[in-house]
Subunit: 421 residues, 2 copies
């Protein structure tokens, strides 16, 4: 163990937590709403200000800062080898989100690499902090924009095609910030050998179990479907109950049946009907049409297939019994992603060294690590979300957990970037 | 029986049906959509054109035409007495409605009174055809505007307060058509002694029973409620099923429970969840809030009280079992309306004389007759709606049923307006 790590203790962790929280406070001003929320959408002035602020901070810590073709920032601590161990997360937020989702991972990575630069000096492998420009799709439907750029997974013409709610194309928004859409392919990386992403859990598991670190060994698969039901609209007074072909009551049976499917299967299965829209929607009209969305998540693709099949049977049964016509369409399928076992083991060893309570767990949300994992071994770890909240103004992670997380990241990076092979 | 009635037979009925259908075709041009729909909203140019067209037609039939302060037209056949027997319905439509709802009642009334003017001449009581300006609330939330004006039930300031979707006030819309909102009180009538309203059924009862006339002796009561459920929004992936407080699945239970309440009670109870809106509504978000509307209808106020009470129990149970907060609010209550028994008997006698298959039935929808019934004895009769449809482009009543309905109305008006007391 490098001698510098012996500095770690309660005091050092607290010092790092203070540094991280101070940085979080500086960043949350960019896009702050009156209700304590943060809305920091890619290529907006507040995003630009936050990116500049984080770049300055990394640079003050002795890191060499670079901006890539899509606007992500990298704070580099050059090692003996050119191969890069990357760590960080995304800087953008959802609309009306909080100050922790994404940005806490950048700040923890920055604190860790700044600490390493100061106390352990030059690593064997090069270290880079990743302040990813975009992950949330909150302005454009460009999910994982920054990490897709690294992985070379942005399609030609995509920046012209995608538009925000006001009609501005992603390409125009980039240009307004000084980035040339034609140069997007230059963001592609071929020098990455590992990626570690710290992130808030966004769920209640660690918080309720009083654990501090979740070593994330996989991201569950996702299957999104829409169900359209068509019946017969009519007057709420004049159509007797027995003559109705009510699309809304059919949709209600599908929603409850979907919940039953997930509960029957048990954890970690989750199923969500997030949207239900009925037509015509009048107070005094029997609904003639309903559209609902279904979101299934599970770590195994095979189970997702079974869940989809159960849903299709459910919908067919509801449609038959209520004399509705039904259409089920698969809108999105993301296969489960398995992270690198050696990196997970390094994180577990780091937790053990730091004497931090941890568990292995899957992520039920998508993250940059699944994209960067197509380029190089990748893994993630979670810190607790108070009450399991995220994407809300009151999302929060306790400073002591932030300090512990930074220590774990430092210790993992030491194993990966400083240790002899 | 006046001698003129002996003219009636298959041929006379067919002739009247042709006249009525020709008038319906002329009127459906005003507000016609490319899909065969009719959207004729009050105080629009298409409404104005239809009102002018109907006025011209009544005038051509020898009736003295007058426009009241809110724009309703009256075609008068003066009798020996100044007291007025009124018959007709409304000229406006819902958005995307058909060519029959409302306007068929005006046309049938016009055909009947024109026929009486031509064949029986001066009645004892004065007859008036009522072409009501507005009933549907399809532009402003001004339900029963024209008949409320007759009944003196428009509140001071209402025309300034009510606005359409584009922000135009009802008062502005009136003024644009040449009506002075300050003169609304002048529309009030004190000379009415009877009101007979022909209308399409808007339900499947007559159509399926192969009956031609429904003598409507009451309008069921209506109880409209909203249910608000609040749970906890969250990420569709990261919140385990057991930790959810999903407002949408709660709302689905309320919707199905509402249906069960109506079915358990049996016909003629109807209950409708017409609108269900969830927040935040994203594909990948557990819904944190849901609002649904409940519409109960039944001929007895006591039963409506019981239905509301059952609903409140249902909602409380769902909220408790799902850890949601719930609020149930009564938005509208219309007590059941009982029509005049002597007028119903006159309609039944007319059906018997005309040898038309008929039944007594309640109306499950609100109609002008319930407002005018506060001024004078009132009743209604229905003609069949093909497949029970209404408020749709394909709503339709067969010409033979229209002809039979006109004969029934003629015979009823003879009893009410021509016969000696």
């Amino acid at each position: 163990m490098p001698a510098g790590l012996s500095r770690f203790g309660a005091e050092e962790r607290r010092r790092l937590a203070v540094e991280a929280c101070r940085m979080l406070e500086r960043l949350r001003r960019h896009g702050a709403g009156p209700d304590g929320s943060v809305s920091r959408l890619v290529y907006t002035p507040e995003w630009q200000a936050a990116m500049d602020e984080v770049a300055l901070w990394l640079s003050e810590g002795g890191l060499e800062v670079r901006t890539d073709a899509v606007g992500s920032r990298f704070g580099r601590l050059a090692g003996e080898l050119p191969e890069v161990v990357l760590t960080g997360s995304h800087m953008d937020s959802v609309r009306g989100g909080g100050a922790y989702d994404g940005v806490l991972g950048v700040v923890m990575a920055g604190c860790a690499v700044r600490w390493l630069a100061a106390h352990l000096g030059r690593p064997r492998r090069t270290l880079e902090v990743f302040a990813n420009c975009e992950e949330e799709s909150s302005r454009f439907h460009c999910n994982f924009w920054g990490s897709r750029a690294l992985a070379g997974l942005i399609e030609p013409g995509e920046s012209e095609r995608l538009r925000d709610a006001s009609g501005t194309s992603l390409a125009e928004a980039m240009s307004a910030c000084g980035f040339d859409p034609a140069r997007i392919p230059e963001a592609r990386r071929s020098d990455l050998v590992a990626y570690l992403e710290p992130h808030i859990e966004q769920g209640p598991v660690l918080f309720q179990a009083n654990q501090v670190i979740g070593v994330v060994d996989r991201i569950v698969g996702l299957r999104m479907l829409t169900v359209d039901l068509d019946g017969m609209a009519g007057h709420a007074g004049t159509i007797p109950m027995a003559h109705r072909r009510d699309a809304l009551t059919g949709a209600a049976e599908v929603a409850l049946g979907t919940e039953r499917i997930a509960r029957r299967r048990g954890a970690p299965t989750v199923a969500t009907v997030g949207s239900l829209v009925v037509q015509p929607g009048g107070f005094n009209q029997v609904p003639g049409a309903a559209e609902l969305t279904i979101d299934f998540r599970h770590p195994e693709e095979q189970v997702l297939d079974e869940l989809e099949s159960e849903l299709r049977q459910l919908v067919a049964g509801v449609a038959a019994s209520r004399n509705l016509t039904a259409r089920v369409e698969r809108r999105l399928g993301q296969r489960p992603v398995h992270f690198d076992e050696r990196l997970c083991a390094a994180l577990e060893a780091a937790c053990a060294e730091a004497a931090v309570p941890w568990r292995r767990m899957p992520s039920h949300a998508g993250h940059d690590a699944q994209l960067i994992g197509t380029l190089c071994p990748a893994a993630m770890f979670f810190v607790p979300s108070r009450d399991g909240h995220s994407h809300r103004p009151d999302e929060r992670t306790e400073p002591e957990h932030i300090g512990a997380g930074i220590e774990v990241l430092v210790r993992a990076l030491v194993q990966i970037a400083y240790a002899e092979p």
